[in-house]
Symmetry: C2
Subunit: 226 residues, 2 copies
Amino acid sequence: MIELYELCGANPAHLFSPFCWRVRMALVHKGLSFRSNPTCFTDKELIAFSGQGKVPVIRDGDTVVYDSLAIFAYLDSQYPEQPLLGDAVASARAKAIDALCTSVLRGGLLKMVLLRVLQASDPKDHAYFRSTREAFFSDTLENVDNPEQGQALLEAAWPVLAAVLKTQPYFDGDEPAGADYLVFGYFMWAYTLGIAPWQDNAPVNDWFNRLLNIYEAQRGTVVRTA
Amino acid sequence: MIELYELCGANPAHLFSPFCWRVRMALVHKGLSFRSNPTCFTDKELIAFSGQGKVPVIRDGDTVVYDSLAIFAYLDSQYPEQPLLGDAVASARAKAIDALCTSVLRGGLLKMVLLRVLQASDPKDHAYFRSTREAFFSDTLENVDNPEQGQALLEAAWPVLAAVLKTQPYFDGDEPAGADYLVFGYFMWAYTLGIAPWQDNAPVNDWFNRLLNIYEAQRGTVVRTA
């Protein structure tokens, strides 16, 4: 049984980390049993065995792996059925798709979810979340968070993703695999925090719903911010 | 010997079609001998054997293939060494990278090259080029062409591509393959027509120069608009 350490909010069943969602989808894709270990931002002692301080982390027997892409590579090496990344070229392409989509999506989504993350997180995490993010942005959460501006940035992002999804159902072709989950993580960041700003862009919305349905059919309804 | 029908300008050695450059790079990648058949826009009779009117077209013995992606797939099926697209998932990812990059590059580049294509093309092609493109755009070439606006659009595109190329040397990883050539074609569209608007973005410019150097080392200096 693989142990998955993944970020949770005040509700331990409320999972909203884009990088943890990647790993959750990867485990479901491979059909691997896993046990969730909900981890708050400040539960550093829970994952101290990994030698670093960020989720996602998996422990599989004696092996500990952190970082979503490293976990994908580990799962492919250990459980080669249903590849996530595939061979060297396929893997490089998945990382390229991730980088291209991150580049067009992340900034806009961040402005829409930042305060939602704060509100969803456990009260014991609030000071930590605020201080680390404000140091990173050199600005207050309230100044960076700007849903209207985020939505405007994302209006330019959807056609870029739709250029792919109007010609093939998934980034990985006829069936989803690693590249889809890398991108889907960002969507779950927004979705689990209560928004779906892509919902008026049909090819993107349809792709998201196909993946969400695959997940929920196996693991049940996702907990979202009301 | 593969026959390659590819777009040329008034100078038959001046090749500036992005889609023809994809195929030329693919043939060089595979190490396949080919003979160039420079084809003006209006040399429709030269490629009538293909049953349609656009280059690139290849004839390989009795087999005729048109459309750059179809040619890539054909070359992989017939000459599997040095894959361009690879298996189904790798191929879907290459197409996704193409669609993502096309979406962020094409509009800006078009505004920078449109009149340059007219000026480079054979005089016998001018009326055809103008009438087909003006019908497509529902506007004059002179109104669509706008290099300053194109450059401004592209300033938003380079960081998107750089997000990939700052972490891996090629879209395909450590060595170039099909996804790189799909994107590189657009760059050769601009470069052969005398501009290199990416030259101040180091990761993108370095990637372009690596590919150009690989090509020129084998096939000699590329003919460009002065």
